[in-house]
């Protein structure tokens, strides 16, 4: 299975589009800014993560792989 690395930069301003596109990987912190879900990701979320990257108005999600 292919692995990609996901990072959220401090550019995140809390628009929350990533929670909508891929709630399995992204979740809001107490203030509504994006964090990576702490649970182990099982399944293929690559397409959903790429959509979240493209939808983020702040270009705050970085992926490798």
């Amino acid at each position: 299975m292919m692995t990609i690395t996901v990072r959220i930069s401090d550019r995140c301003a809390g628009h929350g589009q990533c929670f909508i596109h891929c709630p399995e990987v992204f979740e809001p912190d107490g203030e509504g800014y994006a964090t990576l879900s702490p649970s182990a990701w099982q399944g293929d979320y690559e397409q959903a993560v790429r959509t979240a990257v493209a939808a983020c108005p702040e270009r705050a999600i970085e992926i490798e792989g």
Binding site: A13, H15, Q17, G32, A54, A55, P57, E58
Partner: protein, 406 residues
């Protein structure tokens, strides 16, 4: 859209220089198509243009330029006022730069986070139902005055922490300040009345009896180890009122105006509720109730190839950015399943609209409950619709005919 605006020829460079100086306050009362055409012309021929109004400012109409300015808070400060023309007071926290800006946002971010606002859905829905039920059976009513206006206003008053009985006067003051030029005598009086009222509110609430409302949080909070000054509290609450009372109204109204003209989209939303998340983001982009944000260059710089001297005021048109065809295909169409949709409807950068998740919830509930009751509806005079306002702009009256009840 009236023929007068449709028939305007494509602008030549001569026509562009002859264009009236751009100002979101003037022209007032124009159809939205006027702004689309103006942005399109400027983006094509002079994407960074200068207007001498309000002490002079550079107007940005391209998405990339707006993005660059709003996400670079070191080069483009908010501390000289995020408004053009400038507000006559420091607006908290929109006129504060990082890192202090975030300290104010920490106060109101938790209750306005996505996971917090969903807890309010059932009573917001109840409010929507109570407004809509008396309209069922009527052949004609005013979409804004009877529904899109009252719903977000009562939601905002409750969450901010002001009694419904104060809504008429608070609404009148904020409407005057939103829709009238700021140097207008009436607007100055409204500003004085609003701040006198907020001084009393702050004084009363500081005595205790705290609730879960935003004012209670603000009066109990500290920034850099100090409580906020009363003037800061008043300014903060004023911004919540400006952001909360009228913006969502315009999103609800202009989305339903689109749906009035597009029965296929009404049916798709009714038949496939999974469209709502993308439809709501798109409705925000398409309606763009917040039209611009002001910044000031802290050093000599360049935007989109145009030299900008230190101290220049810059108007980042988030409205124009969200209609940039380089970024959004067919920008003048509301596309229910548009994805991805990195629109600038809630602004860009750290000052992103604090109430965005609440606004999206209210918009969704409003559309769901409206479409559940009214199958077919038409705007009485589509070509007669006029937008009012400047920084916050939208329809203040939309007579609607119901042609088929659900």
């Amino acid at each position: 859209v009236s023929d007068r605006f449709r028939q305007r020829p494509a602008p030549s460079p001569e026509a562009l220089t002859a264009r009236p100086d751009y100002d979101d306050f003037v022209p007032a009362d124009l159809p939205q198509q006027w702004f689309y055409d103006e942005w399109t012309a400027r983006r094509a021929e002079c994407p960074v243009s200068y207007s001498p109004n309000h002490g002079g400012f550079y107007l940005l109409t391209r998405y990339e330029d707006v993005f660059d300015v709003l996400t670079d808070t070191e080069t483009f400060t908010s501390t000289e006022s995020a408004g053009i023309p400038a507000q006559p007071y420091v607006s908290i926290p929109e006129d504060v730069d990082p890192p202090d800006h975030r300290k104010y946002r920490k106060i109101i971010n938790p209750p306005l986070s996505p996971q917090s606002v969903v807890k309010h859905e059932s009573w917001i829905r109840q409010q929507a139902v109570e407004l809509l039920e008396p309209l069922v059976g009527l052949r004609e009513f005013d979409l804004v005055k009877d529904f899109a206006g009252p719903l977000p206003r009562s939601v905002a008053m409750k969450l901010i922490g002001l009694p419904d009985s104060d809504l008429p006067k608070v609404s009148e003051w904020t409407e005057t300040l939103t829709y009238k030029p700021r140097d207008n005598e009436e607007a100055q009086q409204a500003g004085a009345d609003l701040f006198a009222y907020l001084a009393e509110v702050v004084q009363d609430r500081s005595k205790g009896a705290f609730g879960e409302d935003l004012i209670s949080l603000i009066v109990q909070s500290e920034v850099n180890g100090e409580p906020l000054a009363p003037e800061e509290m008043m300014s903060f609450i004023a911004l919540l009122l400006f952001g909360g009372l009228h913006t969502t109204t315009h999103a609800i109204a202009a989305t339903l105006v689109w749906l009035a003209q597009h029965p296929g989209d009404r049916d798709r939303l009714r038949q496939d509720p999974s469209l709502y998340p993308s439809a709501i983001e798109e409705a925000i982009r398409y309606t763009s109730p917040s039209s611009h944000l002001g910044r000031t260059a802290t050093k000599d710089t360049v935007i989109g190839g145009c030299p900008i001297p230190a101290g220049s005021r810059v108007m980042a048109s988030v409205g124009a950015a969200s209609f940039d065809p380089e970024k959004f295909e067919s920008p003048q169409e509301l596309v229910l399943d548009r994805s991805p949709n990195p629109h600038a409807g809630f602004g860009l950068g750290p000052h992103r609209c604090a109430g965005s998740h609440l606004a999206k919830l209210v918009l969704r509930v409003a559309l769901e409950e409206f479409l559940a009751r009214f199958t077919d509806f038409e705007v009485v005079d589509l070509s007669g619709l006029r937008y009012a306002g400047a920084e916050v702009r939208g329809l203040t009256t939309v007579p609607l005919i119901i042609t088929k009840q659900a």
